[in-house]
Subunit: 280 residues, 2 copies
């Protein structure tokens, strides 16, 4: 696996590789890699002849400096995992390389970046759109892979790609879960053993809610039950919502014509986690 | 010259041409072409083996619906001029082709899109950044050509390209002027013969101001003189400013270390015109 810390040499490498490879896949990450990331690498390898992974803990998408500070960083393990997974190239720039000009551009996605994560993490999605635009222009991939766990992020990036006519295909890979149901996340590394058990409440409430709604319970009732379940586990819920999968408009209930998704965020100890589940 | 109204066929054509041409130049326009545009086409032809021109009157960058409505449109003449100028491909999509998804994205350039044109045309530069991003992704040019007449636009597009790492080179071509000094602009087509004479006040005041500042007059004094000169010609000045060429911060006076530019906007009859002049 080739490793690049600078944009210039990466672009030179890719220019050459492009003549040899029919398609290039990009897996943008913030490192501290887990099986969820490796599933994205595999998905890219299955479709593209060359797979590039990027590792960059993007300051622009952290609204909370403490969260940025505490974000897990495991570069040596990441390199080993990617190499074993058959990733062809790794781009791991530092902040100076990624933000060479003093930045002034902000993105506004209207409703889409004001609700759910947007409400609790102001500026987060502008930072995501910024770094994703940079990575897309640097790597110029044919396909880019994101995880369903960050559902709203995928919707934001989809909107970016569609509305700005980026010439690439986005792929959303299903959330990879621990046997306990806990969605894999780099932030899980910050959980104690007890907290990791507590954190399974995310998957348990989502599963419960999905089934209850299917059984005809109102979302109002479900949300109140979920709130109690989280309180009982000492998990501080930030939101638990039912939304339109397409535009993330909040829904009061499911309907046969609108594909819906359950989304939630909350704190387990000092660690903020998110999860979601599609309604069929 | 090949003419495309749809994105798909243009991209297919360019994919094929890219294998035959070492570089592609793009000249984005809103049509009603004049010699200023043709100078951009020539600049592109001098450096690139393939030149693409786009003609699209972009609704997203018009804050004033009447201005959009009255914007000159001369497609047949444009096609003839481009063909004669040796342009290789023309992209002239309609609104539906360019805005296929319902748009929600807005760009914010901080200070840079709030001053000068930004103050009088709120939302204008977000619309410019949007359509330029689209065109860059559709055409994927090696170089893109813009006129100095829209100085602030060039600064905005430069910021966009640098900050989002677009993989292309921007070229700013000097303003083309009538023998009278009037900067060529598609909007000049809306001027009566008398108004066209009045409009030369833009060039006359810029030349006067540049010389007066060189002679040691304060910008405060110069601005007051310019205001009187415009009033005498019945031209309604919107702004007349001295700014840092790089960040467009307004300046009170020139200094040897800060390259500066004079920028102005005003109404001649019902037509809003802009012009600018670099201080050496």
């Amino acid at each position: 696996m080739e490793i690049f810390k600078e944009i210039g040499p990466l672009k030179a490498f890719l220019r050459q590789q492009r003549t040899l490879n029919p398609s290039i896949g990009l897996v943008p990450t913030m490192g501290a890699l887990h099986n969820g990331h490796l599933a994205l690498i595999n998905a890219s390898r299955n479709t593209n002849s060359l797979t590039v992974c990027s590792i960059f803990v993007n300051p622009a998408q952290f609204n909370n400096p403490a969260d940025l500070e505490k974000y897990p960083r495991t570069p040596e393990a990441d390199i080993r995992l990617l190499s074993e997974a058959g990733c062809n190239a790794l781009f791991m720039p530092d902040k100076k390389e990624m933000y060479q000009t003093s930045g002034i551009i902000k993105f506004d996605f209207g409703h889409l970046d004001k609700i759910l994560e947007g409400e609790f993490r102001p500026g987060h999605f502008s930072g995501v759109a910024l770094v994703v635009s940079k990575l897309f222009h640097i790597v110029n991939p044919d396909r880019a892979y994101f995880g369903q766990k960050d559902f709203q992020q995928f919707r934001i990036v989809s909107q970016l790609v569609k509305e700005l006519n980026f010439d690439l295909e986005l792929v959303c890979a299903p959330t990879t879960r621990e046997p306990s149901g806990l969605a894999m996340s780099s932030r899980n590394a910050r959980l104690s053993k007890e907290e990791r058990q507590q954190a399974t409440i995310f998957y348990r409430t989502l599963t419960f809610a999905k089934q209850a709604i299917k059984n005809g319970k109102t979302f109002f009732w479900v949300k109140s039950e979920v709130t109690k379940m989280c309180e009982a586990e000492n998990v501080k819920l930030e939101y638990f919502e039912l939304a339109d999968q397409e535009n993330l408009n909040l829904l009061k209930n499911v309907s046969p014509t609108v594909p819906a998704v359950l989304l939630m965020a909350g704190y387990v100890g000092g660690v903020r986690l998110i999860d979601n589940m599609l309604m069929d």
